[in-house]
Amino acid sequence: MSAVTTPAPTTLDPRPRKPTRSSEAGRAQSKVGRRALGVLAVVLAAMWVFPIYWMINSAFLPVNKLQTPEPTFFPAGGTLSNFRRVLDDPTFWAAMRISLAVVVVVLVAALLFAFLAALAVSRFRFRGRKGFILTILVVQMIPAEGLFISQYQMLDGWNLVNKVAGLSLVYTAAILPFTIWMLRGFVAGVPIELEEAGMVDGLSRTAAFFRITFPLLAPGLVAAGVYGFLQAWNEYTLALVVMTDPAQRTLPLWLQGLVESNRATDWGVVMAGSALIAIPVIVFFLFVQNKMTSGLVAGAVKG
């Protein structure tokens, strides 16, 4: 499943070349072309990463270096005071606790339920299977803004507004469709013959599944877990509706509050806050990225 790091097929060479002419000149030309494309890729990478660089750069700069006619491009002689101000803020830690609690509940529930459902749709043919898959796809089209109000009322009726449990419930439901979609590709990717071989060797069906198929699904579960983590950690709109009490803010709500109280006064603190929320996610993300992308694609192309 390490599709992303596999060397690219060299046969995708862009220039039209007669197959019989594998001359030195042609090879040299293609090498130069490859290098030029490589440089282009690095330039594009720099463009894409610039906003994140700018976030970190600004987070290290004091106000008098941010609010100058000339931008400061490197945080030379920077300061940690922006970070210190965020880390000394008890509301940051309160929001962090809420966010962590929500993420843990959502991940456990979503992974378990999605795994079972993915198993059903990719290992068995049954009446309503296609309907279920179609529902999963259509559910993702529902404009969430339209559901907020009835979701809010529903949670209000159960006394779950401003509660981690309430937010986790709507998050899990929102994340399930795509998680099932993703996992079903992984389950379908493990040949059932492997399990059958285990059964021929005397394992029960359940034992064969847990001893043979399950370990092979680990990358898929990791990918789905990353997806769920990102959604629950980053989501803003539902949290805005469900967590109305400032003491129950999640991190994105806290950040928006920080922006609105510091706009045009102190972008350094705002950038430090953004970085502190983003860095854990990014580190985690880079760590598992291989599994993540191949999982997304497995979900997309396999039935």
């Binding site: 690219a8 290098r35 890729a41 690095v42 993702q140 529903m154 059932i192 705002v270 929320i277």
Partner: protein, 313 residues
């Protein structure tokens, strides 16, 4: 190709395991937890929103007044309002432009990744992953700071490096068109990584032998790309485009946060923010959300049917 594999496997499985009926019931058991949860937290609100859209349901009803049935009144109110049509038009345009630009850039990045050496490919991939992994709200704050009228680096670069001196102090989000330009830049920046990685992984699945055989048969690189590579990655392209259209049509956070940064709300509303602004008139919000769902289905329905028929689902 890949889509037919499970069916075959299943037939084999049925031969090997004849205890079919017992398993059949168990299958539904596997679906129950997910189905109940989605039913409660998505299905029920959806039905309720649909019901409310035929009622008079405002603040008073929130405090216990019984809701009155008004038939299609909410729908006619909305659909006779030219402003609603303006917003619908804007949302469709925004969605199509964003999905198209994201797909073009994403596919270009994927093809680029498949043609360069490992070091530069890893550099590009890490950059894309950083953009992808950054939480939406964190990205939104950075982009606001980049586009800041007074101290934003974008205005500074435009006025000092490109000689556009009237860009100094320029406010990007006041003017609707430039507001949408900023929103598009942000949405595309965030969405390209997903498209690029998915398509790139799809490109890697094109077997090298097929390409070599075509090359030996005299197919040019262009012919090979359009006649072999493209058809083979088509399932990935279709699904990614579909998801992109769905996601871009219901864009909310980016628009909402930019509006909060000081843009004129009425001139910049898309469907998502318009529904949100009806927070006190549930029935209108419900009706507009239903209309939005119908439009989404109209935009994608043909496409989904085609995918179903070709067994790409």
């Amino acid at each position: 190709m890949a889509a037919t594999a499970p069916a075959l496997q299943q037939d084999d499985a049925d031969v090997v395991f004849p205890r079919r009926r017992r398993r059949k019931l168990g299958v539904y058991g596997l679906l129950v937890p997910a189905a109940i949860l989605m039913g409660v937290a998505l299905g029920y609100p959806l039905v309720r929103q649909f019901v409310i859209s035929f009622q008079e349901y405002g603040l008073r009803q929130q405090f216990g007044q019984p809701a009155e049935w008004v038939g299609l009144q909410n729908y006619t109110d909305l659909l006779t309002d030219p402003y609603v049509w303006t917003v619908i038009g804007r949302s469709i345009a925004f969605c199509l432009v964003n999905a198209a630009v994201t797909m073009l850039v994403g596919v270009a990045f994927a093809v680029l990744m498949s043609r360069i050496g490992k070091p530069s490919r890893m550099t590009l991939q890490v950059a894309l992953l950083l953009a992808w992994g950054t939480p939406v709200l964190a990205s939104m704050t950075v982009w606001q700071w980049l586009f800041d009228s007074q101290y934003g680096v974008i205005n500074w670069v435009l006025s000092n490096w490109f000689g556009l001196e009237d860009m100094a102090g320029h406010s990007w989000i006041i003017e609707p068109l430039s507001f949408y330009f900023v929103a598009t830049v942000i949405v595309v920046w965030m969405s390209v990584p997903f498209v690029a990685f998915s398509v790139y992984a799809g490109l890697l699945q094109v077997p090298e032998e097929t390409m070599e055989a075509a090359q030996l048969d005299g197919a040019s690189a262009r012919q090979r790309f359009w006649n072999i590579t493209m058809p083979m990655v088509r399932p990935v392209l279709s699904i990614v485009l579909l998801l992109q259209v769905i996601w871009d049509f219901k864009v909310f956070t980016q628009i909402y946060v930019l509006q909060r940064a000081g843009a004129p709300t009425r001139e910049t509303n898309l469907l998502g923010t318009l529904i949100y602004s009806y927070a006190d008139e549930f029935s209108l919000a419900g009706a507009l959300a239903t209309i939005m769902l119908v439009i989404t289905l109209a935009l994608t329905g043909f496409y989904i049917r085609k995918m179903l028929k070709e067994d790409e689902l």
